[in-house]
Symmetry: C2
């Protein structure tokens, strides 16, 4: 009987692992609770009306339709039994010979999960659609209200967290207000929208060299974004946020991009986890004491060759997935046991886009910004976007947005779950 | 002071009326509860994963961004006071000199509104996204269930109503199952999906000549659709439908495309309405006794020059909107009162697409089917789709679908409102 490989999660790690196992003499089952792979790096563009949801979602089944040894299951994981070598889901049981756990991460409010209601995170397609609706609704309400204070609150966008997501979201929000919506209202001037980016550390984009972080901050300010580094969020409520020493920023649009934690399902593995809930794995990504169980992507805590922790980014997840897919394929066909290689993270660089024609990038030894970085950013994101149709569709949207200064997905859909514009309590 | 023109509804009628008034010496306010104009004729393609929602939704503000005399308001109509010449909305009051009421129609279950839960209609973008999710989820559940009876129920799609919506939906569902999903599952064979089209009358597409209706039925059958004319739906419940003389069709996917009724807000006008709730108007589309109040589109009950009622279709709504826009523009600039012309509906024809390369069309005196009708259908729908970006995006999707036999929007998004796969009661 062929070895049964069970992969939990169809994110970057799970997808790459499965792709390496396509056509190999193994029976693969890939389980995800969504029917699609989500291209998270472009999620902020869905939140700001630049792309539609299906353009960054690829049905997992369609990816593997020709890989007859891969079975895709849409289901919710409910339990992992390492001794019985079996994973329980809402609708069944899945035995395994090899297990790859790659369930990703979710937003963390660092113990203040009650802030979620007022400051949603941006990790799922549902998050992005909710934020998009709320943003567009806020402008609609600003156009009709007669209360000047309320209008300013509706037209203030606060983004907490100066990492790539926060930076890209802030830039996209500023462009939405200043360019896309510019001529569309009669009572308000969207160009007066206040966009505030709040970062507790003394700089933004800490994963990039200082110089590039400064360049990004400069570009954001050129777009009208208030970049507030060294500023801590004290409180988030329906009315806005309190930062630093009791400064109030009334806002109807607060987005939390300040942190993530690994999927809580990692605890089902019974292994040691770090502060972010990531599972400490051996150098072959296996679970200590369980040679056939692996953890990959945002859930895995492991060090890069230089001793720094491997970051929770898409390229790292893809490298881990490829590593595991190859490793399992090799062992499945091996006639005798062999030593396993160690996973070695190769940091190819990092980049962030700030808006039309502006980005910062570090690729290998190269550090650059401006238009070349923006082109590089677009090229790399199109390249890795899954699905030929999606590549073409996104390229079309970007070309259109570039020349027409418009965005194709300014649509308020029925809310997936109630996430109304928070109104301040009566005073 | 310039005359104030208030247009209720940004559907085909309201949009055309507003477009005729752009740049004219009138102050136009266009109110809709959505932020977008919906291109309803392609709604069935969103429901069957062919198009994404933003591709058939155009933000109303973006359409009128350069028409400085047109103000767009996203709000809910709550009252119409004809004597005070004022419309009340959830957030304010809007006085008018001219009023155009064009709030469209909604699904009607003919007194069995309790069927809505099990057999949703297809009139809004929310409907389409719900149906899409339910359909895709049903196939996912069919893949995992071990109960053969339940699997068959999950893989049965029942469409009630043999008009253009029902026919196009049935064809698109059959193609989705037989071609798009064909190789994507391992436990089920989507080609075995049962698609049943139920029509109470003895033929489908009654607005087209008999010969074309037969051609459409033949094309549907070629795709594997069971066309059941002369069949009445007796009951709809969580388990499926009962038709004719107590025949049960167990189905987890029932869609109601059997009828519409005019917006209930027509009753606020206090005028006579017909059985479908449409307001009887004079030949200039004005309300009897209210020369400055007009009703247009699906809400208006009026006769065509040949004595037949003007049908509730997009071309009729557009003609009414254009007629009213021109009429109001003329009166606003006239120095002395003049006689009003009568609205004359020009029936340019009708068409329906059945699937890849197949359609039926009657355009003027021409009646044709097959590939030429399909090309004509595509051309006309692209032509009238609002927004340059949408035209290009939809053309791309269709080209892709034609050559790759794939669909670009097979994504299960978080449900706008709970519309789960109905499960039969325990027995």
């Amino acid at each position: 009987m062929k070895p049964r490989v069970l992969i939990l999660g169809a994110g970057f790690a799970g997808l790459e692992a499965a792709q390496r196992l396509a056509g190999k003499p193994v029976e693969v089952t890939l389980i995800d609770r969504q029917n699609h792979h989500l291209f998270q790096p472009l999620l902020y563009q869905v939140a700001t009306s630049g792309l539609s949801a299906p353009e960054i979602c690829q049905p997992v089944r369609a990816i593997f339709s020709d890989a007859r040894n891969i079975r895709v299951v849409m289901d919710e994981i409910t339990g992992i039994d390492l001794d019985k070598r079996e994973v329980a889901t809402a609708q069944g049981h899945h035995p395994f010979d090899y297990l790859v756990v790659a369930l990703g991460s979710r937003t963390s409010w660092f113990g203040r999960e009650d802030w979620e209601r007022h400051a949603p995170g941006l990790k799922t397609i549902g998050d992005a659609l909710s934020i998009r609706s709320r943003l567009l609704r806020a402008f609609e309400s600003a156009e009709t209200t007669r209360d000047q204070t309320e209008r300013e609150r509706l037209m203030t966008i606060v983004i907490v967290g100066g990492g790539p997501t926060g930076v890209e979201l802030a830039g996209a929000c500023a462009e939405l207000a200043r360019h896309v919506l510019r001529r569309d209202f009669r009572a308000i001037n969207p160009a007066q929208t206040r966009v505030v980016l709040i970062e507790a550390m003394d700089r933004i984009l800490p994963q990039l060299p200082e110089r590039l972080g400064q360049a990004a901050a400069h570009e954001l300010e050129r777009l009208g974004v208030e970049v507030r580094t060294g500023t801590r969020v004290r409180e988030v409520d329906a009315d806005g946020v309190t930062v630093g020493d009791a400064e109030r920023i009334p806002s109807a649009n607060v987005v939390w991009a300040a942190g993530v934690q690994a999927s809580p399902l990692g605890r089902l593995l019974g292994a040691e986890t770090d502060r972010a809930g990531r599972v400490r794995v051996l150098e072959d990504l296996s679970l200590p004491g369980h040679r056939n169980v692996f953890v990959a992507g945002d859930m895995a805590a492991i060090q890069a060759p230089d001793g720094s922790p491997v970051p929770g980014v898409a390229p790292a997840a893809m490298q881990m997935g490829r590593f595991l897919g190859s490793l399992i394929a090799r062992e499945a066909t091996a006639t005798q046991p062999a030593d396993r290689p160690a996973f070695r993270y190769l940091d190819k660089g990092s980049m962030a886009t700030i808006g039309r024609s502006a980005a910062v990038a570090k690729i290998g030894p190269l550090e650059f910004g401006g238009f070349p970085a923006w082109l590089a950013w677009m090229f790399i994101h199109l390249l890795f976007l899954v699905g030929f149709r999606n590549k073409i569709a996104v390229l079309l949207q970007w070309t259109y947005a570039y020349f027409a200064y418009k965005r194709g997905a300014r649509v308020i859909l029925p809310e997936p779950e109630p996430l109304p514009i928070p109104t301040p309590p009566a005073r």
